[in-house]
């Protein structure tokens, strides 16, 4: 199913559960990424993620099928509780993970010192967007791959990969942070919980839907983030995708409710030297991951045969929240 050709871009897919991991691998993922069921990873949602036992079994299952498993330990350890994060890294290494994805210096230092045989990938939560930043992590902790923050254009990625000796992984599809990942506290300002500290953003527990005459207001932590008429479809109320007012005008101040689809940029990303393309969405379920993985597998294989992968993009239209998609920062005009 997999092309396996040298030079081909690797496809890395999300696994929020063992069933989702299997669905992704069966649909053609070269690798999956997942996390343990606690606040040590950036998708700390109820009912999601892996126990150490599930992780061990899933790694064995994936390896038997030639797929890699990358384990995210990518939140920032709470002061005085660093051992919890070290334990997650230890569990990932013990399970045979192909790499640990980390952002916190505490976790990077621990893995580098205690698990020298385990590859370290720098999480997007570290927001390393310059050659100097990436070299710092590579030289200090032996990081082998960096997940690129979603602030760079394709031209900048090409310039970046030419300057570093580290593999790069770029987001190809799914939710889109408009802020530099790992450098955003909007969620804790409104709700007390943030991606860096708790592994959640705009958490469901802080969301309220308030009925109004003719519609509904959506609030996060008591702040109204949008308002809908009856029958209007509402996406998940992430704070940065809300409607707000500035200078007396209301609108999507930070970002429209769109999600990323960079399939049409695959050739450009590959030419820019990107090692792997990553699909977002550990919270989205196995049907979702199967569809997105299959479409990207087909697109990458088409690209490897010298064909245009863009025609597979429309297979993904219905999978985006609100059905609207963007190339994001990969095109300079996004800024």
């Amino acid at each position: 199913m997999k092309s396996g050709k040298p030079g081909s871009i690797e496809l890395i897919c999300p696994a929020g559960s063992p069933a989702m991991l299997r669905a992704a691998v069966e649909a053609g993922a070269d690798g999956v990424y997942c996390g343990l069921a606690d606040s040590t990873n950036a998708r700390n949602f109820p009912g999601l993620n892996f126990s150490p036992r599930e992780l061990t079994d899933s790694v064995a299952w994936a390896h038997a099928r030639g797929a890699k498993v990358l384990v995210a330990v990518n939140t920032f350890a709470r002061a005085g509780e660093v051992d919890t994060w070290r334990a997650s890294a230890d569990a990932a290494a013990a399970a045979g993970a192909d790499a640990i994805i980390a952002a916190d210096l505490a976790v990077l230092a621990h893995v580098h010192a205690k698990h020298p045989g385990t590859r370290l990938h720098l999480s997007v939560q570290a927001a390393a967007s310059s050659p100097e930043s990436i070299r710092f992590y590579a030289q200090t902790y032996g990081v082998k791959r960096v997940v690129l923050p979603r602030v760079l254009s394709v031209e900048e990625i090409a310039a970046l990969t030419a300057e570093i000796d580290v593999e790069t992984e770029a987001f190809g599809f799914g939710g889109l942070c408009v802020m530099a990942e790992g450098r955003c506290m909007l969620s804790s300002y409104a709700t007390g919980k943030s991606p860096n500290l708790s592994g959640v953003c705009s958490p469901p527990s802080a969301v309220a839907y308030v009925e109004e005459p003719g519609g509904m207001a959506v609030k996060v932590g008591g702040f109204t983030v949008d308002r809908y008429h009856e029958g209007e479809s509402a996406g998940y109320p992430t704070l940065c995708k809300g409607r707000f007012e500035a200078h007396g005008t209301a609108g999507y101040l930070f970002e429209d409710p769109v999600s990323l689809n960079a399939m049409s940029m695959l050739v450009a990303l590959s030419k820019a030297g990107v090692t792997a393309v990553k699909i977002e969405g550990r919270q989205r379920g196995k049907a979702y991951v199967a569809q997105v993985t299959a479409a990207f597998r087909a697109a990458i294989d088409a690209m490897d045969r010298g064909q245009d992968p863009a025609r597979f993009a429309e297979r993904l239209m219905s999978l985006s929240e609100g059905g609207r998609q963007t190339d994001g920062a990969y095109r300079k005009t996004w800024r």
Partner: protein, 305 residues
């Protein structure tokens, strides 16, 4: 680095953080001249940390401000850019931090690459949330840490206890710096892109107020940076600061009377006024947003002080 008077307990320091907003060269000159002459602050962080595009417009004014502040006896620390975006930003950062003769605040891990073990301050825009991360930075030369503003006091204290050799400076006044982006929201609001922004961020001296559809104050936009609308205040009495291992408070520049803000905090640190007195004084100075302090206790940062 801190000069401690002979008498114990050690005097708590007051610092003025880097200016986040895009003020004109004239405004910058006037502001720092007054700080140099009148503000009871011990150290001042100077430098453009938000947007490298502004640097050519303000660099000379900031350099002059640095000289003026040094001549006035302030400890001057040069702050690096928080999200270097291109060759110009990277070169400026390298030039700044490679200069071992300057005190430097690092606001992006990439800057450490050029610092080469020389002493530095870790700014609040770096993700240093625990003692092990702080220890890693100390191995690279970090002498002082201003932790991220979203950290609870209890957690700041946990770092201080476990790495006592590290000086801790608490972000104590100002709109909370919440987020950085590759996209400029000032430009987007004006229908422009960042690369052709016309520097519209200079319209809002304390950031562009962002309210909800219900008119509730929420955020403030400053180019690629998003801050809180509320003004974060750590009205913590000196006995508690010492207990937590915090040695300095940082005040973030805004367009209100910062000399008066600094005087009020100095009065707090010297036990001449209490936390309530500080809040009353700050409110009377007409801050750009409501005073908030939820972060100090692990609550939503927007909670009223």
């Amino acid at each position: 680095m801190t000069v401690t008077p002979a008498a114990a307990p050690a005097r708590l320091e007051l610092a003025l953080g880097p200016l986040f907003f895009h003020w004109s060269a004239v405004e910058i000159g006037d502001f720092y001249a007054r700080i140099a002459d009148e503000a009871p602050v011990d150290r001042v962080y100077v430098g453009e940390v938000v947007c490298g595009k502004r640097a050519p417009l303000v660099d000379k004014a900031l350099a002059r401000a640095g000289e003026r502040l040094t001549a006035a006896g302030k400890t001057v620390v040069w702050s690096s850019l928080s999200l270097p975006a291109n060759r110009r930003d990277r070169d400026a950062t390298a030039l700044l931090v490679a200069d071992a003769s300057r005190r430097v605040e690092v606001n992006d891990m990439g800057a450490l690459f050029h610092r080469a073990g020389q002493p530095f301050v870790a700014g609040p825009l770096l993700n240093v949330y625990n003692e092990a991360a702080a220890h890693e930075l100390m191995l690279k030369g970090c002498e002082r840490l201003c932790p991220p503003v979203e950290m609870a006091l209890e957690d700041v204290g946990a770092i201080a206890r476990r790495v006592p050799a590290l000086e801790i400076e608490l972000f104590a006044f100002g709109r909370a710096p919440l987020a950085l982006s590759g996209r400029c929201y000032h430009a987007r609001d004006a229908g422009l892109a960042r690369d052709s922004c016309r520097f519209v961020c200079d319209r809002d001296a304390d950031g562009m107020a962002v309210t909800t559809l219900d008119g509730q104050n929420f955020l403030a936009v400053n180019g690629v940076q998003t801050l809180s609308h509320g003004v974060h205040v750590a009205a913590v009495p000196p006995v508690q600061l010492r207990d937590l291992g915090i040695g300095a408070l940082r005040l973030s520049p805004h367009s209100l009377d910062m000399v008066a803000v600094a005087a009020a905090f100095r009065a707090l640190l010297d036990d001449r006024i209490g936390p309530d007195g500080l809040l009353a004084t700050l409110n009377a100075l007409n801050p750009p947003g409501a005073l908030v302090s939820g972060y100090l206790t692990g609550a939503p940062g927007s909670r009223a002080a």
